[in-house]
């Protein structure tokens, strides 16, 4: 159940087989870091509730990233269907490999897209699982958005994995630099197909220049036997704005880490999320906001709906470092437990080392409001429908906060469909 299970000989061999080039040095350094620190285990406070050992097994079976695996027609179909359902300029990473066609087709004068292997920058690998990601990374994407550019269409990044042929593990990496005063919507979409097991590990870094604004939505709808660890780190620029909303609708074992680093004053960040968790699923959301200077805001609200034998974890940490006066940090987490076999560990953590700060947190765990259920039933709605309606309304509060208006409709549909599955068939 710990790093000992990871086969370093196999890792070493896999790393050496990857194409040589500018990433090679980072890979070797990351491998060394991984060898020293291992993967997180449940003995680490931040990983207490999420055990990665089953992922290590998948990893050991399929460490190699075979770049010539041909893409199945099912994969092509799923990619097309996602692109059609959400209006955006799409970049695709399939099984950890950059889809060249999507890069070539990407056409926006204000955005340049390149491969990480074309740049000299060293990759950051010191966060948990970032070392694994860097060591085994085939290649990643770098997206640069020009200063003062206001993008009309969102940039979509599709992380998709195909386990129809064999079990697998994939590493995906994206770095996004938004120059000063740029304004862009970004959609991260995680999807998968196939009945073999799969473990996907993604690392995304977003750097906001002064006055930049990013509206960011992450949609995770992997199939039930596919696992994921995903990290999004954000450097918040002076007077910049980061509005984020995450939707975890699928997956088997899912762990998301969102880190917000506020080192320049005037930043406004809002990060919200919704997780729908059904039988045998485990979804863990860890967020961390480092307020190093003030004034700045971080506001978060995560909501969860749990059914069946499921497990949810929410941990929201805000650290207000010494001198970060004028910090305004609020955390909220609300959970709806629709089954007595569902379990949630919800933990807000505030560490405050500055004087002039405004911080609050609130966590609730509850069932549906019986008075509201009765009211709806006296209007002729069945108990089942009344439950669905109230549950959807609970979820809808997050959809309405989601910063990209154009996809509210798609999100509501996806959520209604998923709730229908989780709650035993939609009748309305």
């Amino acid at each position: 159940m710990n790093s000992a299970a990871l086969s370093f000989d196999a890792l070493q061999e896999a790393v050496e087989k990857l194409p040589d080039g500018r990433l090679a040095a980072s890979r070797r350094a990351a491998l060394e870091h991984l060898r020293q620190h291992g993967l997180p285990t449940t003995r680490d406070e931040d990983w207490k509730y999420t055990d990665l050992s089953s992922l290590v097994d998948i990893g050991n079976q399929s460490i190699e990233c075979d770049s010539d695996r041909s893409r199945s027609p099912e994969l092509e179909r799923q990619i097309e269907s996602i692109k059609r359902s959400i209006e955006a300029d799409w970049l695709v990473i399939a099984n950890g490999l950059i889809d060249d066609r999507s890069v070539r087709a990407f056409d926006n004068a204000n955005v340049s897209v390149s491969r990480l292997s074309d740049s000299d920058a060293e990759l950051e690998y010191r966060a948990p699982l970032s070392d694994l990601n860097t060591a085994l990374l085939h290649d990643g994407l770098h997206i640069h958005i020009n200063a003062n550019a206001g993008l009309k269409r969102p940039i979509g990044i599709l992380f998709i994995d195909d386990a129809t042929i064999a079990a697998g593990m994939s590493q995906a990496r994206v770095e996004i630099a938004m120059a000063d005063n740029s304004d862009a919507s970004i959609i991260e979409c995680h999807s998968s197909l196939g009945s073999a097991r799969h473990y996907a590990n993604s690392v995304v870094k977003l750097v906001l220049g002064s006055g930049a604004r990013s509206n960011y939505v992450r949609i995770q709808e992997r199939s039930q036997h596919h696992d994921q660890t995903g990290r999004l780190s954000v450097d918040v620029g002076r007077d910049s704005e980061f509005n984020h909303c995450a939707f975890d609708l699928g997956g088997g074992l899912i762990r998301n880490d969102l880190s917000i680093d506020i080192a320049k004053p005037g930043g406004r960040t809002a990060f919200d999320g919704l997780y729908l968790i059904g039988d045998r699923q485990h979804v863990d959301n860890h967020t961390r906001a480092d307020h190093r200077v003030g004034p700045a805001e971080s506001q978060q609200e995560y909501r969860g709906i749990l059914t069946g034998h499921s497990r949810g974890v929410w941990n929201g940490k805000a650290i207000v470092h010494a001198g970060a006066d004028g910090t305004d940090a609020a955390q909220a987490n609300h959970n709806l437990l629709l089954s007595d076999k569902a379990e949630i560990d919800a933990k807000p953590e505030l560490e405050i080392y500055a004087d002039d700060v405004k911080c609050s947190h609130g966590t609730t765990i509850g069932q549906l409001d019986e008075a509201a259920l009765f009211y709806l039933r006296t209007r002729g709605l069945s108990r089942h429908d009344a439950k669905q309606i109230l549950t959807r309304a609970f979820a809808q509060a997050i959809v309405s906060k989601s910063p990209i208006d154009a996809i509210h409709g798609v999100l509501s549909e996806k959520i209604a469909a998923r709730l229908g599955e989780l709650m035993g068939g939609a009748t309305m």
């Binding site: 006296t378 002729g380 309606i389 959807r392 309304a393 509060a397």
Partner: protein, 250 residues
């Protein structure tokens, strides 16, 4: 239409209804009055099917059917409507959505097709105009942030859309301004017909000036202690409840 016979109901170990009998015929308007805490809302909730209350004896029959066997939604689809004394706020559920779902649940039960979206909107706006409600209320969450009076008007709007066979309005007149009271009364009068019945739970004569009841009952400590015609309400207004309570004991 509705026969209540020696109905007893408890919550936990406390008996609240202690043998209520009431006969409500089609076409009739009944008023139920009585002191605070006497069990008026409890009676209304038991008729609507609230399962916090345990019926320990007696029967409730609606058009020949044993009402106590039906789920709340089945009672609603059979044509029973309860206007709540304290309408529930349901944030995030659109008022129009609920109205339409309620209308369609009933239509489905009657074997009718779903109401056409255009027709629904037209009808809802018509009813709202009669009640002096701004159509904007359609797009708000159900009762979410509504003022006390707005909530009561919203109850009447639902009633007007659903056209129930039996409407029980639990203090719908409380907290209304004079115009709203008149609008609500007009809503109730519009519903009056030979095949419908209306039960008004109220503390005030004011509503009964607009909607003249055929029968007035006084509920006290879980029992109906006196019944009469509309003059009973006037008498109560003058003499208070002690007089009926004493008369009942004596």
């Amino acid at each position: 239409m509705l026969q209540i016979d020696n109905l007893k109901a408890s919550i936990g170990d406390t008996e609240i209804l202690r043998g209520v009998s009431l006969d409500i015929g089609a076409g009739e308007v009944h008023a139920i009055m009585g002191p605070n805490g006497s069990g008026k809302s409890t009676l209304a909730q038991v008729i609507a099917g609230h399962d916090d209350y345990r019926v320990t004896s007696g029967s409730v029959t609606f058009n020949g059917q044993n009402l106590l066997e039906l789920e709340p939604e089945e009672r609603a689809r059979e044509g029973i409507f309860l206007g709540f004394q304290y309408p529930v706020e349901i944030p995030g559920v659109n008022n129009a959505y609920l109205l339409k779902a309620a209308v369609n649940a009933k239509r489905k039960h009657q074997g009718l097709a779903e109401i056409d979206a255009f027709e629904f909107l037209k009808l809802a706006k018509e009813k709202m105009a009669l009640l002096g409600m701004d159509p904007k209320f359609l797009n708000r969450g159900v009762n979410e942030g509504f003022s006390g009076g707005e909530k009561k008007r919203n109850e009447i709007l639902q009633m007007a859309m659903l056209e129930p066979r039996l409407a029980i309005l639990d203090e719908t007149d409380s907290g209304l301004d004079i115009d709203a009271l008149r609008a609500v009364a007009e809503g109730v009068n519009a519903l009056r017909s030979p095949d419908r019945a209306i039960v008004l739970v109220t503390h005030y004569q004011r509503l009964l000036d607009y909607v003249q009841p055929d029968h007035v009952h006084v509920l006290s400590a879980g029992r109906i202690v006196r019944s009469g015609d509309k003059s009973l309400a006037l008498e109560l207004e003058e003499r208070g409840y002690d007089w009926v309570r004493e008369a009942a004991i004596g």
